[in-house]
């Protein structure tokens, strides 16, 4: 992992001290609410329906055991004993008191963490493939690039007040697990003639107006990365709309300007800026690379074992191939049947920290699918890891299945939400709670957002659910066929929405329609949808006659 330098630590200490002073001045009345609000948002502190919410950055989703343990301690000391992992690979504490937040930030700084740039119209936490550094098939650890961007973008004075927030994701595999096509900038490391460079995609996004990102460069040499990113940001900063927040993201600039014209503007800016900024320094790259050196992997010969049925089920769904044959990445589901997606208690965090330390080279990851990853586990340790997870209620064998649902906090927490998300996820999870039945249904990604902002990524769900306020009543639109991977696709809207009490039965009908339509048990929901199209699913939702009219 990347280790903070004394410069980093001094910077964090100064920011905490600054915010402590700002809170004190707010509490003694020296600062008005209007003056204070932008200051708290710069430190990741939101005011929600029932309480404040502190959003903490987890750079590219990578955590050490000590950092996870610190999150557990913070949640117990200043919150309510749990945290919520988000689709941005961050964690949110949902119940802090304003007067406690400086102490929380100080505790975070002790372990090299913070909440800077987790809000506001700036470059947000850079996300990456959650199997980075472990996955078979990646050309390079994408976190080297993500860390370089983190260092460049943190407190970057030119890009602190962009037209809107700006999100960057990085992957280094052909299989896209970082959803790069739906970010303001998506970077894919690729190899060409023995050299590693980038494919650069811009203008992707979800929210009110979803777009699949467009390739602006099929090849960018690594040395040019920062100059090219500055060129994109500079063009966006000047050209992005500031008259309408709903049209202010770069995706709208790409759409309204056209890719070719925008590319020409970026290339012109790049040609100028490159001379000023120069290449990425090899010394900086070398320093970053030191922080991501592979751990000293154990070489013990793999000892075969015979798992029981529950363990077998876990092995079937929660493992991902590692670049080493004797290791594997373990995905720990934060979605127990009927639970709240992404919520992990302090006790569970400590179990995860202990497992990382004992068996996982002290590394943890948070995935954009709101799960926790132990990226490097030797096969011989799988039994012990599973037992510990099972005792902590963390061994649900549902990764990639119908109950592994992404859900935003929705109207149970969020001041922007227009409907509830979590209870819908809990009901679907409970309805399909039987693990054997889930395995029979096979891979299926359900994603739920409680408003049009799409924090729950509903546009790219195989089944997407969007909760809206329709004339004072919660109403849920369904989309089908969305895909956040390298085969990026936006879901197709099925037709009229469903009331709160109707949406879970509607999802059940969709799944039964899939089971009836699939050609083999190996054909996934998404494959079946792509083969048969919307019609049979609409019929299942609305009935044969109404489907034609829907």
């Amino acid at each position: 992992m990347y280790a903070y330098s004394e410069f980093d630590r001094d910077f964090l200490r100064a920011r905490v001290a600054e915010f402590r002073g700002q809170v004190a001045r707010r509490l003694d009345g020296s600062l008005s609410e209007d003056e204070f609000k932008p200051l708290r948002l710069m430190n990741g502190l939101y005011l929600q329906l029932h309480a404040y919410m502190l959003r903490v950055a987890i750079p590219y989703g990578t955590l050490s055991g000590a950092q996870m343990r610190a999150l557990a301690d913070i949640s117990e000391r200043w919150d309510r004993g749990y945290g919520h992992f988000t689709t941005r690979q961050n964690i949110q504490f949902n119940w802090p008191r304003l007067s406690d937040v400086p102490d929380m930030l100080e505790a975070l700084a002790e372990v090299g963490m913070h909440a800077i740039q987790t809000s506001g119209n700036c470059i947000r936490n850079v996300t990456a493939d959650h199997f980075a550094g472990a996955a078979a098939g990646e050309v390079e650890d994408p976190r080297l690039t993500a860390e370089l961007i983190r260092q460049w973008s943190t407190d970057h004075p030119e890009f602190a007040y962009l037209p809107r927030k700006f999100k960057v994701a990085v992957t280094a595999s052909e299989q896209d697990r970082a959803v790069i096509a739906f970010h303001d900038i998506g970077l894919r490391l690729r190899e060409r003639d023995g050299e590693i460079g980038y494919q650069v995609v811009i203008g992707g996004g979800l929210g009110r107006t979803p777009f699949i990102g467009k390739e602006v460069r099929d090849w960018l040499p690594k040395r040019d990365l920062l100059a090219y990113l500055e060129a994109i940001l500079r063009v966006y900063n000047l050209g992005g709309r500031r008259d309408n927040k709903y049209k202010a993201r770069i995706k709208i600039l790409v759409h309204e300007t056209g890719l070719e014209e925008l590319r020409a503007m970026i290339e012109a800016e790049f040609a100028t800026g490159r001379r000023l900024l120069g290449d990425v320094s090899p010394e900086v790259i070398a320093q970053i690379a030191k922080g991501f050196a592979p751990p000293a992997f154990r070489d013990d010969p793999v000892v075969p074992f015979s798992p029981g049925p529950a363990f077998r089920s876990f092995l079937d769904t929660n493992l991902h191939p590692h670049k080493r044959a004797d290791h594997v990445s373990v995905t720990v589901s934060t979605k127990p049947i009927g639970g709240t997606p992404g919520d992990v208690t302090a006790a569970q965090m400590r179990v995860l920290a202990d497992l990382a330390k004992q068996f996982g080279y002290d590394e943890l990851r948070i995935s954009h699918e709101q799960n926790v990853i132990l990226p490097h586990i030797h096969y011989n340790d799988l039994g012990a890891v599973y037992e510990a997870l099972a005792q902590a209620g963390l061994a649900t064998a549902n990764v990639g299945l119908v109950s592994d649902i992404i859900a935003c906090p929705g109207l149970d927490y969020c001041a922007l939400a227009t409907a509830r998300s979590i209870p819908i996820a809990q009901q679907i999870s409970t309805l399909f709670g039987d693990i054997d039945a889930q395995h029979d249904i096979g891979p299926l990604k359900i994603k739920i957002s409680g408003c049009i902002n799409a924090c729950g990524h509903h546009h790219v769900g195989h089944i997407g659910i969007l909760g809206l306020d329709r004339a004072g009543v919660e109403n849920y639109q369904l989309t089908l066929g969305g895909d956040g991977t390298e085969d990026a696709a936006l879901g197709d809207r099925t037709g009229p929405g469903f009331a709160y009490d109707e949406v879970v039965p509607a999802v059940e009908r969709l799944i039964h329609a899939y089971l009836a339509a699939r050609e083999t048990t190996d054909e996934s929901f998404l494959q079946t949808y792509r083969r048969v199209g919307l019609a049979p699913f609409k019929a299942a939702l609305y009935g044969e006659r109404d489907a034609a009219a829907a």
């Binding site: 707010r26 509490l27 009345g29 008005s32 609410e33 005011l47 929600q48 329906l49 029932h50 309480a51 404040y52 117990e76 309510r80 004993g81 749990y82 119940w95 802090p96 008191r97 304003l98 007067s99 639970g339 709240t340 919520d343 208690t345 109207l411 149970d412 927490y413 227009t418 509830r420 979590i422 209870p423 809990q426 306020d469 004072g472 009543v473 919660e474």
Partner: protein
Amino acid sequence: MARAIPAQVVCANHLIEGDAIWFTGTGWCRSITKAQVAETPEAAQALLALAQAGAEDARAVSLYLAEVAITPAGPYPTHFREIYRVRGHKTHPQLHEVS
């Protein structure tokens, strides 16, 4: 004569705790049933202005008007968002015991 509208109350968050509070006409409380009700647009704007005037001293932030129905127990929200706000958080109450 002022046009009849749905009755309204002023709600807000507490500056330090962040939780939901309602304006009583003379102060703030944590139960909507004690909230002061305005029954005309003019009364609602006057109530909001009165609440805003004392908000800083009372540590009330993010003030807005919310529609209510009058029940035997007092005002109660008509919109689901405000109903959830009154009910409090529900998704896993076992974790919500404040230590």
